[in-house]
Symmetry: C2
């Protein structure tokens, strides 16, 4: 989770998506879910206009909200004031999807007295069923009236589907002589009904950055955080990460690379890495978080490919569920990773809070205590440490074990 | 399984790997498995020298037997007389692996009175544990003495690991005025101990083909059969397909492309496609065979990529286990397939022996009877039919559902 030095500089903060100055949020039940205890409509608002950036799913099937969000950011040149989001229905593969997504923005804009193109929109849930707009229209004013910096958790709950806990985090750190904050919330591998394991992530900051540098930072950090997360290898149609910066911290606007940009980027990494870990931990049916690091790689790309290949292997995921130090499966997944390196130099360690053991050196197995291995793998956070011994690059990927409950959750009939 | 016309021309035959003239086989228990009822050592033998071809795993971690088989085929210029194979131990990631694999060839060669380089070798089972050579040395003569065309099933059983049934098939057909036969046996997604879902396939034929054309045919057909099979997305270290042709059918040797080559290739396709279907049906924990066809693709490559993307999706595999017509997951997997096409023209049908229903047209859902869908998906062979509506190419991929038993088999502790 970072070095001691880093934790001194980047301090954990409360308040999630409202931790940064000038942001308020809210979440309510509007009626998309039958259960009145379940929030299904959320809103994030900035008291001043923000520079904004976003990254979207690479799936050819794209949810209608993504198309509308893209259009709005293009229209405003990367400026926004609010995010409106619903759960239970993904508003994807519907003939009237874009119209409804646009309508959500208009409803939010009217309640907030801003322009519709200043609103970003996201949806998660069932695919291919028309989104009922009435419950949203009827509750949007109530939602807007309840906007408060204290309501960040209600907003985080409004985006949950099969998530078992809300996901929020924030850090504050000095930037250009000012105190800056970055906060965020996320939802993970959830399903209802037809479902997708959609990942939605909303990040807010009071740092001042140009829209261009904001997009650059977000794209770079997504690559080493969310894109290194694998629950089951399926890529959703609705995945989206947005980043809004209102500049209220008062630092000199970051308009190019340099030390301020690097400081900001590291803060963003910490927020997104922590959310990524929460997403992995809450993977459908997961009983264990798996963190795989690959070091000694000839380049970053190779390190990422190897770490992701291991974290994605269903055989390894089952072995971790069974708490079995089945290193052959790790070596096998390293071996089929689509990158060039010498497999004969690879070493592998398994670790947890209970200690670490070497299981493979120079591509061959080494003797280890099965008893010790069992003790290590009995923990709920497992670290798989790979060293390719052929360079200086490293990367980390996150995932979870494959359990009976994954099959149960995803095999159960929709209705 | 082929058109009526095709079934008239290519007739199903008995005898598996011994269906073709001049081939004998045997399988015995030598003691690698503790259970004396379980065959663990097999042999295939041709009374005359064969032209031979092979295709191997692309995993960087390669079992020692693969290295020795490659070496032998290089030494002989693609000629061979026998295959020796064991189960229970993959002889992979062992310091003395190549030496042991070579020793297996020498033992078989001595018993058969042929040269060691005329023997191909394969192993499947646990990784990273030294292969005990003594049980093999002690039983190799008994194995060779029992060689008989009637013992094909004993050989097929000798390569089983967690396979629940032996896999054999054969076809005969006219070729250059002669009656030719192609037969084969395979083992699939098995595990013992550390394990790999190794696929081993041994094909024999009495047709006469040059080693070069044999390799060409094998490589082409592997691409559209075994390489379109996905049980869990893991690629084993020991996968191997070999093809031996002894020419005893008496046809004019096929030395180039043309109608005889095409006729042979289609026969080879039928044998390997049927074995592939058996492997899918017997996937670890599988309760259903899934067959996904993609037609209307701009090119073959795209059709293969799309069909494999769908067959590999864990979310879809769970839905099929749950007998849930969750077409959103199919469209999602089509959408993230790594190929260029217009998702807005895609249609999808679900089918089985109980009928067919359209679930998606022009990239959007269509209304269908959930009752009818449930009835269709209740069968144990499910067909997912995709039409991209943007070309003439097609492809088929095979897989199985993801069940509690997959997790159980692969999550259980090794010992």
């Amino acid at each position: 989770m970072g070095t001691a030095q880093e934790e001194d500089f980047y301090k954990q903060a409360d308040g999630g998506v409202c931790a940064a100055q000038g942001f308020t949020a809210n979440g309510i039940h509007c009626g998309l879910y039958p259960d009145p205890e379940k929030n299904d409509l959320g809103l994030i608002f900035s008291e001043t206009e923000c520079n904004a950036a976003a990254v979207y799913t690479t799936n050819k099937v794209k949810g209608a909200p993504i198309l509308v969000t893209k259009k709005h950011l293009a229209q405003t040149g990367g400026r926004a004031r609010a995010v409106v989001v619903n759960s239970r229905n993904a508003n994807t593969c519907n003939a009237d999807g874009e119209e409804k997504a646009q309508k959500m923005c208009e409803l939010a804009a009217a309640a907030l007295e801003i322009a519709p193109e200043q609103v970003l929109v996201a949806s998660t849930g069932v695919i291919g069923q028309p989104l009922p707009i009435e419950p949203i229209a009827e509750h949007i004013r109530l939602l807007a009236e309840g906007l408060d910096a204290g309501n960040h958790a209600a907003a985080a709950r409004a985006i949950m589907t099969t998530d078992t806990f809300p996901k929020e985090t924030a850090v504050c750190f000095p930037l250009g002589g000012k105190n800056c904050t970055i906060g965020g919330m996320a939802k993970g591998s959830g399903m209802i009904h037809p479902n997708m394991a959609t990942t939605l992530n909303f990040i807010t900051t009071d740092a001042a950055l140009s829209a261009e540098m904001l997009q650059k930072a977000l794209s770079e950090i997504v690559k080493v955080t969310y894109n290194c997360l694998s629950i089951d290898g399926d890529t959703s149609t609705n995945d989206m990460v947005s980043l809004m910066a209102n500049g209220l911290a008062g630092n000199d606007e970051i308009t190019g690379e340099g030390s301020d940009y690097e400081i900001f980027k590291q803060g963003l990494y910490l927020v997104m890495m922590r959310l990524t870990r929460m997403l992995a931990k809450d993977g459908e049916g997961a009983s264990k978080l798996l963190e795989c690091t690959c070091k000694g790689a000839p380049d970053k790309e190779t390190a990422i490919i190897v770490a992701k290949s291991v974290i994605r292997s269903p055989l390894l995921k089952c072995a971790m569920f069974g708490e079995d130090a089945n290193w052959g499966r790790i070596l096998c997944a390293i071996g089929y990773a689509d990158a060039e390196f010498d497999i004969g130099r690879v070493s592998v360690e398994l670790a947890s809070a209970k200690g670490a053991i070497a299981v493979c050196r120079n591509g061959s197995g080494v003797a280890f205590s099965e008893e010790k291995a069992k003790e290590i793998l009995g923990e709920d956070e497992i670290f798989i440490r790979i060293d390719l011994h052929q360079g200086d690059a490293d990367a980390t990927a996150w995932g979870c074990d494959l359990t009976y409950d994954y099959v149960k959750i995803n095999g159960d009939y929709r209705s």
